[in-house]
């Protein structure tokens, strides 16, 4: 297999965007073309979860490839729930590694705020098991709430730990121009003050408002290419060194240990093994914190910390920018935002910025190895990517 590198990147603001989905996809694509200096691609993958249901548009990739005047390049839409972005990058990786294509554009794009929040929540809830979960009124926040309660009982995680994730990621996002949530918060304000119950109401207890990611619109892009192509571009050599993917049961109650996220464990193991590194070699990571608890649990399952000790590392400041292993310097899903199909690509975008040394105020010093974890459903389909900076 051939080695695969990131040639260019682009991103939109993650917020409520008042322009069509096709443009939300095309704009970061245009930025990535400019960033790389590439004018022609062999293939386009567009990651998206909801265009048919939310935006009344099917065949999204065909629309985008034409909108960008990149025809006759091949184009496909990739739907894998909130892990669509990671999946599309994996497809791009396979296309370049196999020798089928030399230059592949991967875009993730979603426009969720075209519908009201009830419809957006119901759209995401269609990920749950239709007969065993959905009919009961189960949504993603309620699965996360039940999971959090078990995790607290078993491992001693408290509401204070969850709030620490929210405070950290919202602080990181203050230095990210593209982030959805631009609001600094304190533990006092969201947990201890007399107004906390109003500021930070329960959504699915023990999870509260500030434990959940916002509903966002947004798009992101990475262009993947061969080593030969990269050398001609004079861009930093950021290699996609490891790709891992694994699945788990659809209905959460069928998991032997409901507090384990085995698909995260397995996808990370594959990704690290392929890259030939150990979890603690990682300098910076973007984890899928759709709910604050998930950042803590994933930091354990991918092997950064022992099972049940993620919250202790958080407490010690290990995962802050400036700590030993910064997690979610972009603000994560929690604060950068979570336009579902775009998230996996946005994670890769942030890691490439960090490894290039272009992350400005939120730069993790001397970052050479980066890692992303992108979850579909409540952990039933997971993609983990490892990126390594090589000297030019």
């Amino acid at each position: 297999m051939r080695e695969v590198y990131v040639a260019g990147i682009g991103i939109t603001s993650f917020t409520r965007l008042e322009y069509p989905l096709v443009e939300i996809a095309a704009y970061p694509g245009l930025m990535a073309l400019r960033d790389s200096g590439i004018k022609k691609i062999d293939h386009l993958y567009v990651a998206n979860m909801g265009s048919c249901r939310i935006n009344h548009q099917s065949g999204l990739a065909s629309a985008v490839v034409d909108h960008m005047s990149l025809t006759p390049a091949g184009a496909e839409t990739i739907e894998n729930g909130p892990a669509s972005g990671g999946s599309a990058i994996k497809q791009g990786y396979m296309a370049v590694a196999s020798g089928l294509h030399d230059v592949v554009m991967v875009i993730g794009a979603e426009r969720m705020r075209e519908v009201n929040s009830l419809d957006a929540t119901d759209f995401v809830a269609t990920l749950t098991h239709p007969h065993a979960e959905y009919i009961y009124g189960i949504t993603l926040p309620s699965l996360a709430g039940m999971f959090t309660r078990l995790y607290m009982e078993k491992y001693g995680v408290t509401s204070r730990h969850l709030a620490m994730v929210a405070v950290k990621n919202q602080a990181n996002a203050m230095d990210n121009f593209y982030a959805h949530i631009q609001q600094e918060i304190t533990i006092e304000g969201i947990l201890d003050s007399p107004e906390a119950l109003t500021n930070n109401p329960y959504v699915a207890d023990p999870l509260r408002f500030f434990d959940c990611c916002p509903v966002s619109d947004g798009g992101a892009c990475v262009i993947l290419a061969t080593k030969d192509v990269l050398k001609k571009l004079e861009k930093p050599m950021i290699k996609l060194s490891g790709v891992g993917q694994a699945t788990d049961s659809h209905a959460i109650h069928e998991r032997k240990e409901p507090t384990d996220l085995l698909a995260v464990r397995e996808a990370a193991r594959q990704s690290f093994e392929m890259a030939g590194i150990k979890p603690r070699d990682v300098d910076v990571a973007e984890l899928h914190d759709a709910f604050t608890i998930l950042e803590i649990v994933e930091s354990e399952e991918v092997g950064f910390f022992k099972k049940g000790e993620g919250h202790i590392a958080l407490e010690k400041g290990v995962t802050k920018i400036g700590g030993e292993l910064p997690i979610n310097p972009s603000g994560g899903l929690k604060a950068r935002g979570h336009p579902v199909g775009a998230t996996g690509v946005a994670q890769a975008h942030e890691i490439v910025l960090q490894l290039r040394g272009e992350a400005e105020k939120r730069q993790v010093k001397n970052a050479k190895i980066g890692f992303t974890c992108n979850l579909g459903g409540f952990g039933n389909n997971v993609i983990c990517l490892t990126f390594v900076k090589e000297e030019n």
Binding site: G137, I138, G145, P201
Partner: protein, 115 residues
């Protein structure tokens, strides 16, 4: 109205699945329909729960209490709870009731109460 929620017992190895799946997770039995339909137990212990306050559009109440119950037969089920102050480990008993209703359909499922 139905009085049971059903599970699927593999005819080869006896493993009970809920919800339905086409291939036995334990022994790999894959002859079509080689499952016996068996009612799930009604009694069990609550293993986790949540009060959900942002409800799907089909509900008119202010909150919904949801949980996962480990049943006496060893299976687990995700369901609604009609319990004021749920506690992990408490004994519960279920009955079949309407758990969701839209314009066209009433969906039936298990609702648990304190024993």
């Amino acid at each position: 109205m139905a009085t049971n929620v059903y599970a699927y017992k593999c005819r080869r190895c006896g493993k009970v699945h809920y919800p339905y799946r086409t291939i036995c997770k334990k022994c790999g039995e894959n002859d079509h329909n080689e499952f016996d339909i068996v009612p799930l137990a009604k009694k069990g212990k609550l293993i986790t729960y949540t009060h959900l306050y942002t409800l799907p559009a089909d509900y008119e109440t202010k909150a919904l209490t949801l949980g996962i119950v480990e049943l006496e037969d060893g299976n687990r089920i995700t369901a609604q709870l009609n319990i004021q102050e749920p506690q992990i480990g408490m004994n519960v008993v279920g009955k079949v009731d309407v758990v969701r209703q839209d314009e066209y359909t009433k969906y039936l499922g298990m609702v648990f109460e304190k024993t």
